[in-house]
Subunit: 344 residues, 2 copies
């Protein structure tokens, strides 16, 4: 029997609290975990002892028996760390962080620098450090989906993944904006304003956000003249290049829907430089409603807004829901909304 339950430098245990309060460990445990079914005066006594000792439950011990860690991994491919500077990313992270905090769950950041790191990631996930994982939409050949599948780790992706792991795979759980619907709305808006030749500057076609927006465009522009579509890379420069291409092929175009705001600003620059009035001669619509981009554009950009922070929050919620009930939705599509400014 330990005589001195509390060694200096050693943190007090349930046992110590129980001794001080004059009850059993089980009772202390009950109180610490909510205290239902314990008589009020005992609850008080225990609470008092907890306070006096500065008791905080030992996480490892609790995890060992409950098999839950109360932590979730967020996996960020290194190229994306730079994307922290992209407000898109940091807003999504913030949404995740807010929701996890609200649910008393910790965020563990896993940065992946190169493929070799996936071994470490697998060890980490398999080691039971976390209850689930959040990842961002990946390239087709990314090893992560296979890893999480193999070790049975609940995972939610940000952005619709471009792959399925197998023919009978229900597909990964994910949260995405309604890219296709948003694109349709953008194009319909342009048509409604009387535009006849609506061009599209698409994003890189290996990302579903780009292809989904392209699909949305095509849903509306059914005749589908391929000369009206140019492919960019989500950067202003890429948008400018695509815009020049389009003007060359179709000098008659009177509207452009760009797959994101950054490309739209590139397009605006080219139009301005060529002496086109926006929206007089050519109307322009973007996508994202990026902070300090869409509004600051010249002219301010009409664009499709997606709720990025909300998407982050949904990712966390979907994952945490998954943990509880086995039949949570596999995917959540958040709505977009057209924000009308001056460019269209």
């Amino acid at each position: 029997m330990p005589e001195q339950l509390r060694v200096p430098g050693d943190r007090p245990t349930l046992e110590a609290v129980a001794a001080l309060a004059g009850v059993s460990r089980a009772t202390v445990s009950r109180v610490v975990n909510g205290g239902d079914g314990v008589r009020a005066h005992l609850v008080d006594k225990v609470r008092e002892a907890v306070r006096e000792l500065g008791y905080v439950p030992n996480h490892a011990a609790r995890t060992l028996v409950t098999r839950r860690t109360g932590a979730v991994a967020v996996i960020i491919p290194e190229p994306e760390i730079r994307i922290f500077s992209d407000p898109f990313f940091s807003r999504q992270i913030r949404g995740i962080s807010r929701e996890l905090t609200a649910q008393d769950t910790q965020l563990v950041l896993l940065m992946v620098e190169d493929r070799g790191d996936y071994e470490r990631i697998e060890r980490y996930l398999a080691g039971g450090h976390v209850d689930g994982a959040l990842a961002f939409s990946l390239h087709t050949d990314d090893p992560l989906p296979e890893i999480t599948r193999r070790i049975g780790m609940p995972t939610v992706y940000g952005g619709r993944p471009g792959w399925t792991t197998g023919p009978d795979d229900p597909g990964a759980a994910y949260v995405d904006a309604d890219n296709r619907g948003g694109a349709r709305e953008a194009v319909r808006h342009l048509l409604a304003r009387g535009r006849r030749s609506v061009a599209h500057i698409a994003g890189p076609l290996d990302q579903t956000s780009a292809t989904d927006r392209l699909d949305g465009y095509r849903d509306v522009v059914v005749e589908g003249d391929p000369s009206l579509v140019a492919v960019g890379d989500f950067t202003p420069t890429g948008g400018a290049r695509a815009m020049r291409e389009l003007l060359e092929r179709r000098p008659d175009l009177d509207a452009v829907f760009a797959a994101n705001d950054l490309m739209a600003t590139g397009a605006l620059a080219v139009l301005r430089e060529r002496g086109f009035e926006v929206p007089g001669d050519v109307a322009v619509v973007g996508f994202d409603d990026t902070e300090r981009v869409a509004e600051a554009a010249e002219p301010p950009l009409t664009t499709v807004r997606q709720d990025v922070e909300g998407m982050g929050r949904m990712m966390a919620r979907l994952l945490l829901g998954t943990l509880g009930s086995p039949r949570a939705p596999r995917a959540v599509i958040t709505p977009t909304v057209l924000v009308r400014r001056a460019s269209a």
Copy 2:
């Protein structure tokens, strides 16, 4: 005795590996943890069993007995999350992440939105989730130092803290650039180029990085005419305002040392707009060597470079060292270097 050691969905344990390899749990444990003192052929047998079963040690169980988690918390005040967009921050984080990864230690990101969150932070740190904490330099009244002290959590700060917790407090461990020395070098460089009236645009004086640089300036400009010092806020706008102030008070100045690059660019803009040649009429030196700021300035900025990623790495190293040996250094000051470009 469990007949079926490996239930589907249940992860294999040491026990299962031991059974398959025909050895005791102790032996498996030894092999998993390095394998010294175990005969080679047994090591192989165990390794084989580990591979076959896909065994990964259970983290909680291990932590429970070793009292080490292999994880470190990085605490970020919410206002700073925006600073993810500041390359300074993301580079420091990257340095931390790299070093932790190299030492097989996990990074747990703790974001603090408001003061109320500190209760959660304390619970988390006290709960034994992490072996130590990394935090960024705080305001004088930040509750974090008191918390980490109370629960005895080893903590390293990024940037010299402005406080001490008590008269006999050795002070918090921290990593910082040699702000004072760097400032001295900047000013000496200006004097060496024949400048007579060297002004200083200081940062907000409640941050030690600002006061240390001011001190460095004063070390060299000993006469110390107060009219040569204006206080900014580390932003370009603040730098511009300070520059205007200085020009008003001291139209004769021929050099400016700004406490960071962003303020220097603000100063450059004002000088340009007032028709001063840089460096002809007024020489300018910045601080930081911020990516895509110093080099892109007009003219390119002579500035004091600090190794931000290295500082992040040092923070992790200092903390992890602290964990091992009780007498690690309390502080690490990393050197700065003057990078000469066109502005001075």
